[in-house]
Symmetry: C2
Subunit: 327 residues, 2 copies
């Protein structure tokens, strides 16, 4: 039986809460234990349309389903009045290979699992408490990351900086104030955000590092989730070289597509000194050991996250009888 | 709008005919022209279940859709009374990246496009006429390959050899006689099949070459479509070394997963001497130049075939108003 779920149905049953954060944490844990088989990301370029379709997947031992996530980024879509990102997931039985679920989430589950990874990073790396936090960007992930952060490090103020239009920023301020009941301040500069925040999350498609090492201050934690291609970068290489603890979700991805690409290529950061998030979750390696350390976590997005959230979503839909089923 | 098609609906609108063969031929032609972007196959292993999920895709310039094909092979499924192979395809807009079709074909379209590739190989490489043809195997591809061959090289006799149970072989004989109105002979040996056939198609998951070079005879054409993993092999390395013309669908796959793996690794066949099928389709390289030559074509299955057949299927479904649509 194949269950097909639409975006609205999926949104009605899964939201970014602690249970999702726990599942994503379990995904990183299994990855670190060597229980996950994660093939390299498949990329199908569509250069004529400034587009790309990326496929991620992971089989996690002991789980009887695995997900295949198809994510599109077509960066000329705005000319057509369409969002650049879209996507969906297939859930396949890890017992028989047969298709069991089609999650037409239009990228929603990716937003949720990416936010949840930010929460896992902050849970293990950020100082506590974190009264004032910062975000660079005012898009969808700037929202999900702040929702996720609230689950693990409750805060009262967001400082936001973004290159988006004023009305986009104003909407962000309004929506986050409403949703999280916090103060949201439009900061005058990135430096101002970093200076006044205990935790900063970067959520942009920038192609040049915009966080400088000289802005780092004792206790700061930075999660950089924007870079996921060879061209993108949010942190200057100096930041990773200067940080006391450098963490990433998956070294093989981060050194190729993430913030570690430049600093490792430039021999500013030794790959061996970088810790994978799952190793910290599993207690194999300490993360932050001192309140005054600076920590950085680079997230590129790993197939285990997709398998974890897709399996959860389909299980919930089955339990609740949501969706269309085909024999 | 997303159109969802089930297996029955797909079977009602697409069958292995000359229009599909032409489409697959066009796919190989575009590949040869450098108009197709074909990422490496993504493989998700599920070792505990002797299973694997493979993903193929290709973007072909000038086509406004591309396909992502998910194919499962779980080789312990027979214990559960289930077929080992299954699969489905997603059709994504190459203009916007948005999902446009979900083809729940359960592997049917892969069977059709694989058969069609066999027809393209025979069309350009086999001698004409070919009164008596041979097939090794009696499974699904042993059927599709013979149906495909009839479209391009009409014949009157099939000689079949298979290690399957007698009732499976008898069913093959019965079904093919009915479907194609030809004589089907259960041969006593593989050698007997090769000796008495102008064209031989191998369709097995064998892990050791079973066609010997000494059996080659003037004018013989062999299409080997079974091998698609590092372990599989149907032709002894000698066969490829001895053949006058060696062709494959995609060198980068055939040398890794197909019949070319061993002979190239053993320096028995020079990669430069191997011709890709599309180059022959495009007339860039001659294939067979003499009725007495022996020719071999190795097919591993290329993402362009999946994109071609998926785009065709969705277009036909739209035209005929078949399937379920979701806004």
């Amino acid at each position: 039986m194949i269950r097909i779920l639409g975006e609205k149905e999926i949104k009605s049953i899964v939201s970014l809460d602690l249970s999702v954060v726990e599942d994503i944490e379990t995904g990183f844990s299994e990855l670190d234990k060597g229980n996950a088989l994660v093939p390299p990301i498949m990329m199908i370029p569509v250069p004529e349309k400034n587009g790309e379709v990326d496929i991620k997947s992971a089989y996690i031992k002991g789980y009887n389903q695995l997900a295949i996530k198809v994510a599109s980024g077509f960066f000329d879509n705005s000319r057509l009045g369409l969002p650049s990102q879209s996507g969906q997931m297939l859930v396949v039985s890890a017992e028989t290979g047969f298709l069991q679920g089609v999650l037409l989430d239009n990228g929603y589950l990716t937003q949720v699992r990416t936010g949840a990874a930010g929460a896992v990073a902050a849970k293990y790396l950020a100082t506590q408490p974190a009264d004032s936090v910062g975000v660079i960007g005012s898009g969808v992930q700037a929202r999900f990351q702040m929702v996720a952060l609230m689950l693990v490090r409750p805060y009262s103020t967001i400082r936001m900086f973004s290159l988006d239009a004023e009305d986009v920023k104003d909407r962000y301020v309004h929506d986050m104030q409403q949703q999280l009941n916090v103060r949201v301040i439009k900061a005058a500069s990135i430096e101002a955000v970093v200076k006044d925040s205990a935790i900063v999350v970067t959520t942009t498609p920038a192609r040049k590092g915009f966080i400088k090492a000289k802005w780092l201050h004792p206790g700061l934690h930075i999660t950089a989730m924007g870079s996921d291609t060879e061209e993108k970068q949010e942190l200057e290489a100096d930041v990773l070289a200067a940080a006391d603890v450098v963490v990433c979700d998956l070294k093989s991805q981060s050194t190729r597509l993430g913030e570690l690409r430049r600093p490792v290529a430039q021999n500013r950061v030794a790959v061996d000194s970088v810790i994978e998030l799952g190793a910290i979750v599993n207690g194999r390696t300490p993360g932050r050991t001192d309140e005054r350390q600076t920590t950085v976590c680079d997230l590129t997005g790993v197939g285990v996250q997709d398998t974890m959230i897709a399996v959860k979503t389909l299980a919930m839909a089955e339990e609740m009888g949501v969706g269309l089923t085909i024999a």
